[in-house]
């Protein structure tokens, strides 16, 4: 157990897991879709020195993220991982190196979208009282956590130790009858796919969204849930065991 986090891993988590969840926000939340309605295609490239690079594409009211940032309309360079992480906490204002004419998209669409995402990922008790909000919040948190598992497993010292012990194959992370996520492991490198798994080598299944929510925000322990059957595991349990060790570490990054 490491007690400190590192800013490079945090930058990967922030970009691919947190901003990457804009994909799901635009799919699940009608207000997010509305913000993008009738907008021409636009893309925002993030390039972080000694850190991650990725582009968010906004096309036809949908969003998707890709690694790298060569073909983008707006480019946001950051001189360090710390600076990029500052964007996420609101302490750093980005200055585009390309796409000045599209700055209104940043201010009028992108910022409201990220604010909306934050509302779902760090929900208030009042918002959670609304059942529909609570469900969407849990789904988005689960997508974020799963893709953060991949980032932490690839970047963080403890995460790399855990992924170093994982054999190749796909892990299915499912909520029964609600959603599915795939975590792919190949040569100890992890990739999270925001879609159900066809042929898992191991599966971790939450019996319902509420259990997933409690586990992700630390109200319940995975061990205890497995013991009482509210989380079921099957297949190569050692893969899930290592994934859960990374998930513990993800908690340290997402609570930053």
């Amino acid at each position: 157990m490491l007690t400190q986090t590192d800013s490079k891993t945090l930058a990967y988590v922030n970009l691919f897991a947190v901003l990457g969840t804009l994909e799901n926000l635009c799919e699940l939340v009608p207000e997010a879709k509305d913000l993008l309605k009738d907008k021409p295609p636009i893309s925002i490239g993030f390039t972080v020195k000694h850190g991650p690079k990725a582009t968010l594409f906004f096309v036809d009211s949908c969003c998707h993220i890709e690694e790298g940032c060569s073909p983008c309309t707006i480019k946001l360079p950051f001189s360090s991982c710390e600076k990029f992480n500052g964007l996420m906490t609101g302490t750093v204002t980005p200055i585009p190196s390309k796409g000045f004419t599209k700055i209104s998209f940043l201010l009028k669409t992108f910022v409201p979208l990220t604010d909306m995402l934050a509302k779902y990922l760090k929900p208030s008790q009042e918002d959670l009282a609304n059942v529909a909000f609570r469900e969407t919040s849990t789904k988005l948190t689960l997508y974020t956590a799963a893709s953060a598992i991949a980032q932490v497993g690839n970047q963080d010292q403890s995460g790399k130790f855990s992924s170093g012990l994982m054999p190749d194959g796909d892990i299915a992370i499912d909520v029964t009858d609600v959603m599915g996520i795939t975590l792919k492991i190949k040569d100890h490198h992890l990739t999270a796919l925001r879609k159900p798994c066809d042929k898992p080598r191991a599966a971790m299944t939450f019996s319902n969204l509420e259990i997933a929510r409690q586990l992700l925000n630390g109200e319940a322990s995975a061990m205890a849930c497995i013991c009482n059957g509210s989380i079921a595991m099957r297949g190569m349990i050692n893969m899930i065991d290592n994934m859960n060790r990374i998930l513990d570490r993800v908690g340290q990054y997402l609570s930053v």
């Binding site: 130790f161 205890a224 497995i226 013991c227 595991m233 099957r234 290592n242």
Partner: protein, 425 residues
């Protein structure tokens, strides 16, 4: 032949109470999570009594038990000779201010029995003595590093855990070096890279890890490792907590033709009575004397009496030879039962500690379905861990076990041709 399917309403009722007052309800390897109860409701959770090679759960379901309490049950539950010896001793004394002289009798018996032992030190759990072995190696060499073979298990003290385990600090595992078993060049390289830094190498006598076929040392491997340790003045520790006395009563190092500096015993030492032992060679006796290491119950007399009776009975029965035969008869029957149903069952490790894997699916899901189907019909197996043979196992037990395995394979075969996924066969 078809067998009735078990249910566990009473176990499940008690588990609900347990969940409120005990972390996880049942924590550790004897619980649903680490015990890999898949699905969780296919397994009994609490036992009510045990006898010979069987135990009965809270609902009265009868199991032929191939986990043997994860090893301690070596002669059969409630073995009369061991229980009588323990009862006699308990009438005299058990946990007293100064030790009973029966401790010396037990130490002498171990020194006579275990090939590499010149002395014995007693504690309670396997973890107590693997930890003592590591402390001893460090005290003897004034070095920090310990070499482990990947997929090891040596207990739960912080030094045995890993960087990514909750509550374990980096500083507690930063002197652990990892290498693959049987890869001698990698071990040589590691010793060269850390020349003068390695205190000890700790190893199970062969790889009896989880989720993977168990495997033996290559021809001559241990002899090369022994020499490498000698050349580098590294203490060679054999963790015989699991395999001890099931392969060879003189120690598993003896079985593989080499001599350990320190050897750790626990599980099969006293047929379930609570005692563990570290044995070692003379050169390390004074080092152990110099350590601060003791515990409230470590000199209790009853487990010593049980241990003496257990070892003497294992000698009379020649349990390693007996287990080899029983384990082979059983697993040959399992393999044939699998084949009759077009499955391929792979058996690995020593027959007395056999490990099972269905080779028809690399996710182990099919295997887990079969294991669950066996448990629900009355043989207690696990899907991820090696099993254990005990001396009370009868030919009738083996015959019935094979019939149950066959029935479970048959259910699996009919099920796997249908499309739905369901563990409840």
């Amino acid at each position: 032949m078809t067998f009735p399917i078990y249910n566990y309403p009473k176990s499940q009722e008690v588990f609900k109470r347990a969940f409120k007052v005990i972390p996880s309800g049942i924590y550790g390897h004897q619980g649903p999570s680490e015990g890999c109860y898949i699905p969780h409701d296919a397994f009994p959770l609490f036992s009510s009594r045990a006898m010979g090679s069987h135990f009965w759960d809270l609902d009265g379901n009868d199991y032929i038990d191939y986990m043997c309490g994860y090893g301690p049950n070596v002669l059969g539950y409630r073995d009369p000779d061991v229980d009588d010896a323990a009862l006699e001793q308990s009438k005299k004394e058990d946990c007293v201010t100064i030790p009973s002289s029966i401790m010396v009798d037990f130490a002498e018996l171990l020194v006579d029995t275990v090939a590499c032992a010149d002395w014995a030190f007693f504690a309670k759990n396997g973890n107590d003595v693997t930890s003592l072995a590591v402390i001893t190696a460090r005290a003897a060499t004034h070095r920090k590093k310990i070499v482990f073979f990947n997929s090891y298990y040596h207990g739960v003290s912080p030094w045995t855990q890993k960087l990514d385990y909750p509550g374990i600090l980096e500083e507690e595992v930063c002197n652990n070096l990892y290498v693959n078993f049987n890869d001698y060049p990698a071990l040589q390289k590691l010793f060269a890279e850390h020349k003068g830094e390695i205190a000890g190498l700790i190893a199970q006598p062969y790889m009896h890890g989880n989720f993977a076929d168990n495997f033996f040392p290559d021809e001559g491997y241990w002899q090369k490792v022994r020499k490498l340790c000698d050349d580098h003045h590294v203490v060679l520790i054999i963790d015989d907590v699991r395999a001890g006395f099931r392969l060879d009563l003189a120690g598993s190092d003896h079985y593989f033709g080499f001599k350990a500096d320190l050897i750790c015993f626990c599980k099969a030492l006293a047929n379930g009575y609570n005692v563990s032992a570290l044995c070692g060679n003379d050169s390390l006796k004074d080092v152990v004397s110099s350590l601060t290491y003791t515990g409230s119950y470590w000199m209790s007399a009853v487990p010593f009496a049980a241990g003496i009776a257990c070892i003497n009975k294992m000698k009379v029965l020649n349990t390693p030879k007996l287990f080899e035969k029983l384990g082979k008869d059983l697993t040959d029957g399992f393999v044939a039962a699998a084949k009759n149903n077009d499955f391929q069952l792979v058996v690995s490790g020593a027959p007395s500690l056999f490990y099972l894997r269905l080779a028809d699916d690399d996710s182990l899901m099919l295997h887990q379905q079969w294991i669950a189907a066996c448990v629900k019909r009355g043989i207690f197996l696990t899907s991820h861990h090696n099993h254990f043979i005990n001396a009370a196992l009868t030919h009738e037990d083996i015959k019935k076990s094979i019939e149950i395995a066959e029935d479970a394979f048959n259910a699996l075969r009919h099920h796997s041709t249908s499309l739905s996924f369901n563990y409840h066969l």
